[in-house]
């Protein structure tokens, strides 16, 4: 089975609103809201707007090739609005055929025989949010049996996380560790993705964390996807020289297709936080996020 190489255009609008009880005197922010132009997507147009308007918004590309915008606001404010709007063409090309045993993929990366060993290796080790452990390894090895081909094993792991874990947005928060989510067997997309990455890294495979969106409206006759209308996250696994990186979504138990719009990737959530910052003052605050992803008909 091979995904059809088709593409879809989306209009994505991501708005984050901060309401503060007291005046914030200063804030420093980093945004990772610009979709990557990459093998799965092409950025057609994009615009960031911030209110109150900062003196300037600076842009740089991070180590993983993600687009980062940085700005500071030095005047007192009680509300901060960040909006990112853009058009993206998504063309997921998951050539979903691989007969390579997972041990061979691992060995080739470690021995540096795989031509993309360096790119993959960056995602093989512990990262600030994801620590590998024997528990994760044992869970993973139930699917990654001896000499099994990497893809079917990974798809099974993806499915098991979907089945074994309960989607519960009250059980965890943005700072919950994969260890906690693993023992709770609960969480949201971020937790599922990080648990899956922890499992894969614990058996020596390379996996990265992808942040992105899902299309909001389902195709006629299909169920609405879990995690639509919000920031989403999934996993990309390095499957060796033929298959390359394969994206899968444990929250929806599927391989990523053109319903997924990738934004940025990194070792874990920490590397790709969509909106992050530090502010002085403010007292209590309320964050409201809204995401709208609509299909653009051509």
């Amino acid at each position: 089975m091979v995904n059809k190489r088709a593409s879809r255009d989306y209009r994505v609008s991501h708005t984050t609103l901060y309401d503060y009880k007291q005046t914030v005197r200063v804030c420093h922010n980093l945004l990772m809201l610009t979709p990557r132009s990459d093998w799965a997507g092409t950025l057609l147009s994009h615009r960031i707007s911030v209110k109150p308007t900062p003196e300037n918004i600076r842009r740089h590309e991070d180590y993983f090739g993600n687009q980062v915008h940085a700005f500071s606001i030095d005047e007192g404010h009680r509300q901060l609005l960040v909006n990112a709007t853009g058009r993206v063409r998504v063309s997921y090309e998951n050539s979903v055929e691989s007969k390579t045993p997972w041990e061979e993929v691992r060995a080739n990366v470690i021995s540096q025989a795989d031509p993309r060993w360096l790119e993959a290796t960056q995602f093989r080790f512990d990262s600030p949010r994801i620590q590998s452990s024997k528990g994760f390894a044992d869970y993973a090895l139930q699917s990654f049996t001896h000499n099994r081909d990497i893809l079917s094993a990974a798809i099974e792991l993806n499915e098991r996380i979907f089945t074994d874990f309960e989607y519960d947005s009250t059980a965890t928060d943005a700072y919950t560790s994969p260890d906690e989510a693993f023992s709770l067997r609960k969480g949201v997309c971020q937790d599922f993705a990080q648990v899956q990455i922890a499992c894969l890294r614990s058996i020596g495979l390379c996996a990265r964390y992808v942040s992105g969106y899902l299309r909001t409206e389902p195709l006629p006759g299909q169920k609405k996807l879990i995690g639509a209308d919000q920031s989403h996250a999934w996993v990309s696994i390095y499957c060796g020289r033929e298959a390359g990186w394969i994206d899968m979504d444990p929250t929806n138990n599927k391989l990523c297709d053109n319903d997924h719009i990738p934004l940025a990737w990194g070792r874990d959530f920490n590397d790709v936080v969509p909106v992050r910052g530090v502010f002085l003052g403010g007292g209590q605050h309320k964050i409201t996020v809204s995401v709208d992803v609509s299909l653009v008909d051509d």
Partner: protein
């Protein structure tokens, strides 16, 4: 240490001890060759030493040590923040190395610094070392403190390491080996300078005779290098030393270097990012910082992008660096060079980056991430020391041969589970050098730390080093800064050397400056509290002294001293209640309360607060004043209260008051009258006003004489009025006499002046709240009608005086709060946010 027991004949020349020096067999000795001949450079030192008697040497050492102690030179042997610090002990014998030998070493060390710098340039840039498989990728990606944010911070190509240090050991064949590389913020330069000060005092004539190379040119180069990093304002950039604060292990050195190099010492909370610049938050407003010499760990620099503890860093710093608006030395990411794992790969890295062989070898190192190496390590485990492959915190190394069979198995399992996290190294063999111990010269093992500074496309080696010595060489396994003592290292030339000074060269125009607006708010806060604590200590000492004095006169009675005793109780200087009437018990109580460690307000604890504030502003105040306070604090801590007699207490209190006055005198005469002074004196005046008002309230209706004595005005009064003590003239002197530095009106006058001179918006038309309170206080003192205030009511009290004093005592804390709100607390609480999903709204 009792020296007499070791020295039988004090007049005997040191020569015998020098002759009796016996190096250990099979160990390289720095001073003596195997045939007993002295190595190059040592002769003039031994000649001069020979002219001293052991007693003279010990006496000079004791003096030098006293000086170091008073300067507050302490250190933390394992370099752990918050860990116990020990006094810095210096040995009277320096370690001599000939210039020729040092230059040969210098070539190898310069190459090493160069390589370290190029490694960073490569790894944070094109990564050829990884692509071409010279370094395993784990070196970067398995480092627990690695952050992708390290990349592309510094505009390429620029060097990353302004300062580099390498720890050295010497094997029996006389070859040098590097045991550790330090690249983040190498510890030790301040101690080297302190050692040099001490050794030149200890052996002045030997120092002159030996042609010791000077340290100053190195620091001039360091200043130049830091200056050239500045993205703008090259002529006179603001350079700040970023310390982790008084609790950190390097604080002594940070403050010392700030003073020595003439830089501003800052903590994270003194810095703020505004308008895409890094600024120093000062009383005069925000001042741009161009260069930051950091002592803080890489991952703690910026909580908005890095993973460290948020309260230490400066949010937004990385973005300012990325935009080229501030330079940080050494680059954030330099910590990668400190990984012991690197030592296993340096020869190959050297070939790859420089096309040269590595000139100084590292201690043999095997990285357990490689299967072959790991097997070798397991096979030879007993010969090895096991360490973490990456430097994160002060992880203690493991010595497998001292483990039990069970622990050993556990270690092997641990390594097998995370092999990339471990290295094993061969045990280091070290050289010895003569050390003065218990009246003899003995060969002790030595660990050296050498320093290099980047200087016009090359590195320059400091002609000197940090030397730690110990009888037992295994203590250096953990950290080179272990060991019992330190020695100054003399690099000696065959020819006379030039004098160098850090003072600016003639002919360069320096802009004249008189302002002190650069004062960080945190420093102002500390100076303000120093002023208050000093004054409070003095007042408490006076109150207790007067009370003890009065109780121990021939015809003393509890009744007569009732007011004073109440005052003591009120101030927390007396713990027994008023039911106790036995004079002896009360005096004992006063004496022990004054020096009690567990009473919050005891004199001893107030002095210790003075000391702790002093140590936070060490870079801002004259050395003499901080020495006096150090000594005072030690004295109070060492006072045993159980054996104090009356006279002992009185003489101790006399001494304490004298010392406090000496400290105040140093402040008065050595501080420029800038904002720092304003805050120090403001603190003192406020405290004195409060104390004097309290004393008048407590004693005026009880004993006029005690009032005069406690307020230190007895002599003045007698001068004016002889022994006729009356209410009106006493009150005039203590309250309304503007010429008396102890009167209330004198305090309020200075309070008004100090507050007027604080920076504020010049366009503001109305008076600020703190100005209003100060003026109101001052006016009520100036308008006070002494004879009306002395009118008595039916109970013998002074109602209008009481009202006036009560009002004043309410105003003082309000004024202090206003000042601190407006000037001293600039720092708000920082919060972080990271969004995840829609439904997550914080209530």
């Amino acid at each position: 240490m009792n020296l007499q027991t070791h020295i039988s004949d004090a007049s005997k020349l040191l020569e015998d001890a020098l002759e009796a020096y016996q190096p250990l067999a099979g160990v390289f000795d720095e001073a003596s060759e195997s045939n007993g001949k002295l190595r190059p450079g040592w002769n003039p030192l031994f000649d001069r030493l020979g002219e001293l008697s052991p007693a003279q040497l010990e006496q000079r050492q004791a003096q030098a040590q006293r000086q170091l102690d008073l300067d507050g030179v302490a250190f933390n042997p394992y370099d752990v923040d918050g860990g116990a610090s020990r006094p810095w002990t210096i040995d009277p014998i320096p370690l001599v190395i000939s210039q020729k030998e040092w230059e040969a070493l210098s070539e190898g060390l310069r190459q090493r610094a160069q390589i370290a710098d190029l490694i960073l340039l490569d790894l944070l840039g094109p990564q050829t070392l990884l692509h071409e498989k010279i370094l395993p990728p784990e070196f970067l990606f398995a480092h627990p403190l690695y952050s992708p944010a390290f990349h592309s911070l510094v505009p390429q190509p620029r060097n990353h390491l302004q300062l580099f240090a390498a720890d050295l050991a010497r094997s029996p064949d006389g070859e040098w080996w590097v045991t550790t590389d330090r690249a983040r913020n190498p510890f030790g330069l301040g101690y080297i300078l302190e050692n040099r000060l001490a050794s030149t005092r200890l052996l002045p004539s030997a120092f002159r005779r030996c042609n010791v190379l000077r340290l100053a040119p190195f620091f001039i180069a360091l200043r130049k290098t830091l200056q050239q990093l500045a993205p703008r304002n090259h002529e006179n950039p603001r350079v700040a030393i970023w310390t982790k604060g008084p609790q950190s292990s390097s604080y002594f050195e940070d403050a010392f270097l700030a003073r020595y190099l003439g830089y501003t010492l800052v903590e994270g909370e003194d810095l703020a990012v505004r308008n895409n610049r890094l600024n120093l938050k000062s009383l005069g407003g925000l001042l741009p910082v161009e260069v930051l010499y950091r002592r803080i760990e890489d991952h703690n620099c910026d909580p908005s992008e890095l993973i460290g503890q948020g309260d230490k860093g400066v949010p937004g710093l990385l973005e300012v660096i990325r935009n080229g608006q501030v330079a940080v030395a050494n680059s954030i990411g330099s910590t990668l060079i400190e990984s012991p794992m690197l030592q296993a790969y340096l020869p190959a890295v050297s070939e790859h980056l420089l096309g040269e062989e590595l000139k100084i070898p590292s201690v043999a190192t095997w990285w357990c991430g490689g299967a072959k190496e790991r097997n070798y390590v397991f096979k030879h485990l007993d010969r090895m020391i096991v360490r973490r492959a990456f430097r994160t915190e002060a992880d203690a190394p493991i010595v497998p041969r001292s483990l039990t069979e069970k622990e050993r198995k556990a270690l092997i399992e641990q390594i097998k589970y995370r092999p990339e996290q471990y290295v094993a190294q061969e045990t280091v063999s070290r050289s010895t050098t003569p050390v003065w111990d218990q009246g003899q010269l003995k060969p002790w093992f030595v660990a050296l730390r050498s320093f290099l500074v980047h200087n016009s496309n090359d590195y320059e080696l400091l002609p000197g080093a940090l030397a730690r010595v110990s009888e037992d060489q295994s203590v250096f396994t953990h950290n080179m800064t272990s060991g019992e003592k330190s020695q100054d290292v003399w690099i000696v030339s065959d020819e006379p050397v030039n004098q160098v000074s850090l003072l600016a060269k003639v002919g360069r125009q320096v802009e004249l400056k008189r302002s002190g607006a650069e004062l960080p708010s945190r420093v102002a806060d500390n100076l303000f509290w120093l002023g208050r604590h000093l004054e409070r200590a003095e007042q408490m000492a006076r109150i207790v002294r007067t009370t003890v004095g009065q109780l121990t006169t021939e015809d003393s009675s509890i009744q007569e001293s009732k007011g004073l005793l109440e005052l003591c109780r009120h101030n927390g200087q007396l713990s027994c209640g008023s039911e106790v009437t036995d004079i002896t018990l009360i005096v004992d109580d006063l004496a022990s309360s004054a020096f009690a460690p567990n009473l919050q307000q005891s004199l001893r604890n107030i002095v210790s607060r003075c000391y702790s504030v002093t140590s936070k502003v060490r870079d801002r105040i004259a050395l003499d004043s901080s020495r006096v306070i150090t000594e005072l604090n030690e004295h109070c801590i060492n006072t045993q209260t159980d054996q104090l007699g009356y006279t002992d207490v009185l003489s101790k209190l006399d001494w304490i008051i004298t010392q406090l006055n000496a400290a105040s005198g140093f402040f008065n005469e050595s501080m420029t009258r800038t904002l720092g002074w304003n805050f120090l004196d403001l603190g003192r005046r406020l405290e004195r006003a409060q104390q004097t008002a309290t004393i008048l309230q407590a004693l005026f209706d009880d004993s006029l004489e005690s009032c005069l004595q406690v307020c230190d005005c007895f002599m003045t009064y007698r001068d004016r009025y002889m022994s006729d003590i009356q209410a009106e003239p006493v009150l005039d002197l203590l309250l309304a006499d503007a010429t008396n530095p102890r009167s209330l009106v004198f305090q309020t006058q200075y309070i008004v002046e100090h507050i007027d001179s604080l920076p504020r918006d010049e366009l503001q038309a109305t008076l600020a709240p703190e100005q209003r309170i100060a003026i109101s206080m001052h006016n009520s003192m100036r308008l006070a009608d002494v004879s009306e205030l002395c009118s008595i009511d039916s109970d013998g009290g002074f109602p209008s005086l009481n009202r006036l004093l009560t009002r004043m005592l309410e105003q003082i804390p309000r004024l202090a709060d206003q000042i601190s709100d407006r000037y001293l607390i600039h720092v708000g609480v920082q919060r972080h946010f990271a969004t995840r999903r829609v439904e997550q709204t914080e209530k």
